[in-house]
């Protein structure tokens, strides 16, 4: 007993001892998380709100800025270009995300079953999202050139129908919008594909086998079993891609610089222009805060749906 007492580890002293106390140690993660929250989120957020209340264009020294209340908010709300850019962004996001979901789902359906070369296809389908957006923008700007490869590929298809194959991908307002949507679809279908592939992989095989034994057709299995079980994956894909698509910036800058006119100016590009080109920092901050509120409520709606779906799936059979 004596020997045991002598060899027992010494109690730590000083700061270590203080940290080792149960009541302190359990607070460490909390303090770190809260600290990071304050530093990385709360502080810039408060600063943004403060700037949004200022009359400040950066073409005057900051010392001359002064608080003017909610004037910037009123100006943002009264600015038609803000609403046009926002509407356009929803249009881009809606079209792009829809296409990405359909294509990603179809590709995942095709490759989730075992067949020769499956891994190769999966790898190929995943490559686009690993490419740096700037490179994607540059490549597509080459592809979309008036006399470029895309129009040359389309020529034999369109010409027999009397349609000119010289589509002005980057200079016609509508074509330019679709040029951006298609570039986004090319890059981010990979992500929806990945989400759906993992969704398919997580489907319980016994349920599908049981349905098969009971004589369900492939369509019935898909419609009645696979699709309902994939709902959480679908919502995840919708939420993640919508969040990203609403921030669409790179392609709009690299392919068209918001033009022709402002037909491809997204809300992110509008903000960038107001702040970094026009130096309207107060106005830009107010627009950012309004967008944050808008997008947060949308994302909250998406997350609410996701949680509700999960809860429904976890309910025991026969209930609800």
């Amino acid at each position: 007993m004596v020997a045991e007492t002598e060899t027992a580890p010494r109690r730590p002293a000083g700061l270590t001892a203080w940290l080792a106390q149960e009541r302190v140690f359990r607070l460490v993660p909390f303090v770190m998380v809260e600290g990071m929250f304050l530093l990385l989120l709360a502080l810039p957020f408060v600063l943004t709100i403060y700037i949004s209340l200022l009359r400040w264009r950066a073409n005057r020294p900051f010392e001359q800025a002064y608080v003017q209340g909610f004037v910037n908010y009123a100006r943002v709300i009264g600015e038609p270009e803000f609403w046009w850019s926002l509407g356009r962004t929803f249009y881009f996001a809606g079209a792009a995300v829809t296409l990405e979901l359909v294509l990603g789902f179809s590709l995942a359906m095709l490759v989730h079953q075992a067949f020769r070369g499956r891994r190769l296809y999966i790898t190929i389908f995943l490559i686009p999202m690993m490419v740096v957006p700037v490179v994607v923008g540059y490549n597509f700007s080459m592809i979309y050139v008036d006399s470029g490869p895309l129009n040359q590929i389309l020529a034999p298809i369109l010409t027999p129908f009397g349609v000119t194959a010289r589509i002005r991908w980057l200079s016609h307002p509508i074509a330019a919008q679709w040029a951006i949507i298609l570039a986004d679809v090319w890059q981010w279908t990979s992500l929806t594909f990945l989400i759906f592939l993992s969704g398919f992989a997580a489907l319980p095989p016994e349920l599908i086998n049981a349905a098969r034994v009971m004589g369900a057709s492939r369509w019935q299995i898909f419609r009645r079993i696979q699709l309902p079980l994939l709902k959480p994956a679908i919502i995840i894909a919708v939420v993640i891609r919508t969040m990203e698509a609403l921030k669409l910036f790179d392609q709009a800058v690299l392919l068209t610089f918001g033009g022709p006119g402002d037909s491809t100016q997204t809300i992110a590009f509008f903000l960038w222009r107001q702040v970094w080109q026009f130096n309207k920092y107060g106005f830009g901050a107010a627009a950012s805060v309004l967008l944050l509120l808008l997008f947060s409520s949308l994302i909250y709606g998406g997350i609410y749906l996701l949680v509700r779906e999960r809860a429904l799936l976890q309910q025991p059979e026969g209930r609800g």
Binding site: N59, S171, G259, Q277
Partner: protein, 487 residues
């Protein structure tokens, strides 16, 4: 009384000796020598160890600038470092520096129109005290180009680039047998450099040819577009003043665009687009230069460097076939008015928050000086265009650009004008560009666009501060930067 007479010269000498160092002129016979001497003295006075300067550089100049940096280091012992960005990114870097005041850059390289916002934000060093000592020489530079170096009466900018727009025609097409006669019969004047924008459009219309057509004994194996010009967002505003041919505002900053003359300018700017490549509204320099060099257009209005590109690019099909022209004009009150906007115009500014603004200034004075500047303009790797009268007689510059081009662009400098030198100018430009695009797309009439531009410009003026803008505008007009004066 006699004592007073004796003491007076002594007092004068003492007064001169006590004059602050700022007012003393630096030793040296040439601008460049004074800059070198000034830099050396500064390093010595401040006992600087391993002095260096950092330039926020337009990436286009990354190949040419290192040679001059090395030369400056050999002359003064001051190392020059570069941080490179595309020219579209640099204004936001300058404005960020105005807020952050990091001092990481000593010199900014960009275009004159960046000065108003940057000077207003206080990030640019007024250089007048330094110029008093260094005595730079701006002789041989046309007054309007010279005026672009100043804003609200202070010197902020050292220009080294005659980037005022020019018109270039295809000589080989003009010279096709029977072409000139046919044109003259149709339009009543011998085709060549046009006097007016309307005449340019006549040329564009006449020479616009479809692929496969045979005209004047030549079968065209590719489309020949009658004209090319900058019509994309971020570019239209650089060309529009040539069509407007006058001040864009009156003396109280009321826009003059919503007038019969302004509407006509919008119409002319948009009308000629029908003879341009269909993608032109999405094109910038990376598309326009190679397209021109490929021989698929009859004429182009562009930065002057397109002529060098057309002659020297390895892929070019038009070597020796370019006819440079003075910018065409517009008729105003029965008078022909030519205006050639300085569409870019590389130059250099000093960061007020840099560690050694005075030292940075000496580099500017040296590099843009009459001798050293001409060396840069003659540099085959550089993109500095002729702008001094001395360029006309400089064999290296003549060799690089060709005498016909140099004579034309130097004649064109007489009509060179500044883009808007006003705070918030990017916003004015954007309002103009967007509405011009709408007209080119057929969504707005020129009248509707003029009204919208007027509203948009007034809104910018009010937002920046009308009184301040009026003062800056009047200063700018009085400086001669726009050539025109108030009616």
């Amino acid at each position: 009384m006699k004592q007073v007479r004796l003491l007076a010269p002594i007092a004068l000498c003492l007064a001169l000796a006590c004059t602050p160092a700022q007012a003393q002129t630096l030793p040296g016979d040439t601008v460049e020598e004074r800059a070198i001497n000034g830099a050396r003295a500064y390093v010595e006075d401040h006992q600087l160890q391993n002095p260096s300067l950092t330039i926020l550089l337009i990436s286009l100049f990354r190949n040419a600038m290192p040679a001059y940096a090395q030369q400056w280091e050999e002359l003064t012992g001051i190392k020059v470092n570069f941080i490179e960005y595309g020219y579209t990114d640099i204004p936001s870097k300058i404005m960020a520096e105005a807020i952050a005041k990091t001092g990481q850059y000593d010199v900014f390289n960009h275009f004159p129109y960046v000065v108003p916002d940057a000077a207003g934000a206080g990030v640019l060093m007024p250089l007048d005290d330094y110029t008093e000592r260094g005595r730079p020489d701006f002789s041989g530079i046309e007054p309007a180009l010279r005026a672009q170096q100043r804003y609200n009466g202070k010197q902020y900018f050292f220009l080294l680039d005659g980037d005022h727009i020019i018109l270039v025609l295809r000589k080989d097409i003009l010279d096709l047998p029977g072409a000139k006669e046919e044109f003259q019969a149709q339009h009543g004047w011998e085709p060549g450099c046009p006097e007016t924008m309307a005449q340019w459009e006549q040329l564009a219309s006449f020479f616009h040819t479809k692929k496969g057509d045979t005209r004047w004994g030549k079968t065209f194996d590719q489309d020949l577009y009658g004209a090319m010009g900058y019509r994309a967002i971020n570019f239209s505003y650089r060309h529009f003043p040539a069509y407007f041919g006058g001040l864009l505002f009156d003396q109280d900053m009321n826009p003059l665009v919503n007038t019969p003359h302004g509407v006509e300018a919008i119409r002319a700017f948009s009308s000629i687009v029908q003879y341009m490549p269909p993608d032109i509204q999405g094109w910038g320099t990376p598309q326009i230069y190679p397209f021109w060099a490929s021989g698929q257009a009859f004429s182009v209005m562009s930065f002057p460097s397109i002529v060098g590109y057309g002659n020297k690019n390895p892929q070019t099909q038009i070597v020796g076939q370019q006819l440079s022209c003075i910018v065409p004009g517009v008729m105003r009150d029965g008078q022909l008015v030519r205006r050639s906007p300085q569409a870019a115009g590389t130059g250099y500014m000093v960061n007020r928050h840099g560690k050694h603004p005075e030292l940075a200034y000496y580099f500017l004075q040296w590099f843009t000086g009459p001798q050293q500047g001409d060396v840069a303009i003659a540099d085959p790797q550089g993109f500095w265009d002729p702008m001094r009268r001395s360029n006309l007689d400089n064999p290296a510059i003549v060799e690089k650009f060709g005498s016909q081009f140099i004579e034309t662009t130097m004649a064109n400098t007489k009509y060179a004008i500044s883009l808007l030198m006003l705070e918030g100018n990017y916003e004015y430009f954007n309002v103009l560009d967007k509405n011009l695009a709408q007209v080119m797309q057929g969504n707005l009439t020129p009248e509707q666009a003029a009204a919208r531009i007027e509203r948009g410009w007034n809104s910018v003026t009010d937002d920046v501060g009308r009184d301040y803008q009026i003062e800056s505008w009047r200063n700018g007009v009085a400086s001669g930067a726009y050539l025109d004066t108030f009616q």
